[in-house]
Symmetry: C2
Subunit: 214 residues, 2 copies
């Protein structure tokens, strides 16, 4: 079950909330990028960035020099908010006011912890890599010591999180159902396209199964 | 041209930045939801929400009771950060470290202005509606006075904004090009699916052209 705090309690559209921790995992595991919110000099900053999950921990990474990562880690004392959103369709109602979006979204709040233990750093980076490109951690060249030194890894507990999901048909005002207007959902399909080889790739190097089959 | 401020100056990956205002418009006009960042009680909050654009102004809306909108408007004195991100593909490099994402993203910073003028409110709501569902403002039932009273509209100037775009093949370390590894881009295609009529829709109501042709 997902705990409720002042931040994760849903102020509106409570029927869209889910307290099922598996819904949280599903939304996170289906995503490629999150939107990381931090406070820098008192102002919000929202950065699209990759992430990975191991159990109850979300991993983020970035350049060791990046301001945004420092702003969201222990050193600065600031919390972060990580939001992952999938847009599944446009809900076309009979009234403009009741138009909506079918979506799945997760929000996680907390203090990000800079990961210093080398084993956890590697596990976190592997999770980040596999979230984006499953199979590539074992296939591609692994990070060198220099590359690792240039990379900051942050861990964020999934303890304080909320999930919102909207599915299905429009919900119109009772009187509006009599209007002679079309209503329904326009779904959005997101699919992998054909892999595009690097133009300088030697022709004899075929595409590996883990990419072709994705 | 996009102005540069301390917030919009790119700290890293400067080659991905664009100073072309048309790139900003293109990224915004192609999106369905933004991620709105506000500071609430000193902590960041990132909310997925719709938006619309008219010229140099971005419009946001929400319930008049929503905490997040109040936190980002003049009354509270806080700035907002609006980020719109399109994920176009996964960049599979020869090294894990150089894996990347092909994306287009825009970030806008500023103080949101509560819109009180009725004409501007209607124009803003129309822009929001048309961004999500072009043609529906004129097709569906328009807002009533009561619905309008329940809706807060905010305006955000596009003056302080930045755009980042990554396209094309992986960029690997010189030595890695000799590795016998596949490298390239796995594109992500986002398409409209078949419109799904509301189950209670009378059969004689056909789908309008502006939806069918989208």
């Amino acid at each position: 079950m997902l705990s409720t705090t002042a931040r994760t309690r849903l102020g509106r559209e409570k029927d869209r909330g889910s307290a099922d921790r598996n819904d949280l995992y599903d939304v996170l595991d289906a995503g490629l990028v999150c939107h990381l919110g931090v406070v820098v000099d008192g102002h919000p900053r929202v950065i699209p960035t990759g992430y990975g999950r191991i159990g109850e921990t979300l991993y983020l990474h970035g350049s060791t020099g990046a301001r945004s990562l420092r702003a969201g880690s222990d050193d600065s004392g600031g919390d972060v908010c990580v939001t992952v959103t999938h847009v599944d369709g446009i809900v076309l109602a009979r009234s403009v006011f009741n138009h909506s979006i079918n979506y799945r979204s997760a929000m996680i709040y907390g203090r990000a912890r800079p990961v210093t233990d080398e084993d956890e750093r590697m596990a976190g980076l592997r999770a980040l890599s596999e979230q984006l490109a499953p199979g590539q951690w074992d296939y591609a060249r692994k990070p060198t010591a220099k590359e690792l030194a240039a990379t900051a890894v942050l861990a964020l507990s999934l303890e304080e999180a909320s999930v919102k999901i909207r599915r299905g048909a429009p919900k119109d005002e009772e009187a509006d159902y009599a209007l002679p207007l079309w209503a329904g959902v326009l779904p959005i399909d997101t699919k992998w396209g054909e892999p595009q080889p690097d133009p300088v790739l030697p022709k004899e190097i075929g595409i590996p199964v883990h990419i072709a089959d994705r």
